[in-house]
Structures are given as C-alpha cells and as structure tokens.
C-alpha cells in the first residue's frame, strides 16, 4: 500500500474528536453529553490503533499467520485497556444520570442544576 493521502485515519480520528467536542460544548442533555464522551473515547481508540498500523502488516498472532510484517502489538493492547476503562466510566455515568433523573425528573443540565457557585 502506498502513502495514504493526508494521513487519512488520523484525520478521521481528529474529526470524530471534533464532533464529540461539539456535542460536549453545545448539548444540554446529559445523555447526549455521555454520548459525546463515548465518541471521544472512540476517537482516541481509533487514533491509538491507527498509530500501530504497519503498511501491509498482519495481525501480530503467530497462529497460522501468512508471511509478512506484523503490525505493532502495543497500541492494540492499549486500545483494549482503554475500551474496558471507557465501558466502566460509561456504566458509572449512566448510573448517576439514572439517579439524577429519579431525583429531579429531568435530564437537562441547566434545569437540574441545584448547585450554584
């Protein structure tokens, strides 16, 4: 494979991050905020996996692998860790939103703001 024009996968990760930033800055709904964070974590995961790709590489697993170079294993391990961490964070955030909804009856971050400061 030749050079991809303009580092396309990195640009894709950057655009995904941009969309998630847009959601986090402008959306008021707490569930949408959580979706923004989930998208940002996807952007980071995509970025990490793209870092480890080697042109024409195989998966770094020796079981029945064809000849050729292998892609880097460390970014894949990091991505695996990062995915699980994000699952954990999302589970906890959703739990808290469920509790907030139970207490205030609303998912709007402006309305449910009891605390001022």
């Amino acid at each position: 494979m030749e050079h991809m024009p303009l580092n396309f996968p990195f640009l894709a990760a950057a655009l995904l991050a941009a969309v998630s930033f847009y959601i986090m800055i402008f959306k008021k709904n707490l569930i949408k905020l959580i979706m923004g964070i989930a998208m940002m974590s996807s952007a980071v995961n995509l970025f990490l996996v793209a870092l480890g790709y080697r042109a024409g590489g195989n998966a770094p697993i020796y079981t029945d692998v064809p000849e050729g170079p292998m892609v880097l294993p460390v970014p894949q391990a990091l991505t695996l860790t990062s995915i699980v961490i994000n699952v954990a964070v999302l589970a906890l955030m959703l739990t808290m939103v469920m509790q907030i909804y139970r207490h205030t009856g609303s998912l709007d971050s402006e309305k449910s703001r009891k605390l001022k400061g």
Binding site: M1, H3, M4, L6, N7, F8, P9, F10, L11, A13, A14, L15, A17, A18, F21, Y22, I25, F26, A50, L51, G52, Y53, R54, A55, G56, A59, P60, I61, Y62, T63, M70, L72, P73, V74, Q76, A77, L78, L80, T81, V84, I85, V87, A88, V89, A91, L92, T95, M96, M98, Q99
Partner: protein, 92 residues
C-alpha cells in the same frame, strides 16, 4: 454570548486536532523499536503465539490488572449507587 465563546473554543480545538493529525508520522510507517522486540521475543519469553495476549498479560500485565481493577471499581460503584435504602434512613 456563551454560544459564541463555545464556538470559538471549538474552532480552535478543531484547528489543533487537524493540525496534529497532519503532523504525525505517515500512516503505516511507525517507529517500532520496542514493538519489534516484542514481536521477535514474545514466543520465546512468554510462550504465547498471540503477541497481543503476551503484551496484555505479560509485558504490560500491570496495566491489565489496573484495567480489571477499574472494571471492579465501576461494578462496585454501580451496585453502591443503585443499592436499596430501606435500612438506615438516619442522619449521615
């Protein structure tokens, strides 16, 4: 006012992200000292055919312990927050 500030902030962020994406090494040609060592020696040192598994559980096993801990933390946290309050309604 808030929207304008947010929009400016967002545009700055996007500019930085795109700029960063263009500056990073060409896709498919990463520097790879540490990873080459792992690809070459994983089978001999850890006895694994799967290099990713040997990175996850051996070379960087401590990260995986931390990751399992995070999952444990989150599960404990979720069960803590969704617990029943039937007993002990007293003052904190």
């Amino acid at each position: 006012m808030r929207r304008v500030v947010g929009l400016i902030l967002w545009l700055v962020l996007v500019a930085f992200l795109v700029w960063g994406a263009l500056l990073i090494h060409p896709f498919g040609y990463p520097p790879s000292d540490m990873d080459d060592y792992m690809i070459e020696n994983a089978q001999e040192e850890t006895g694994n055919n799967n290099v990713v598994a040997s990175v996850v559980f051996d070379y960087r096993g401590f990260d995986t312990l931390g990751e399992a801990t995070i999952l444990f933390t989150a599960v404990t946290g979720v069960l803590l927050l969704l617990r029943t309050l039937k007993r002990g309604e007293g003052d904190s």
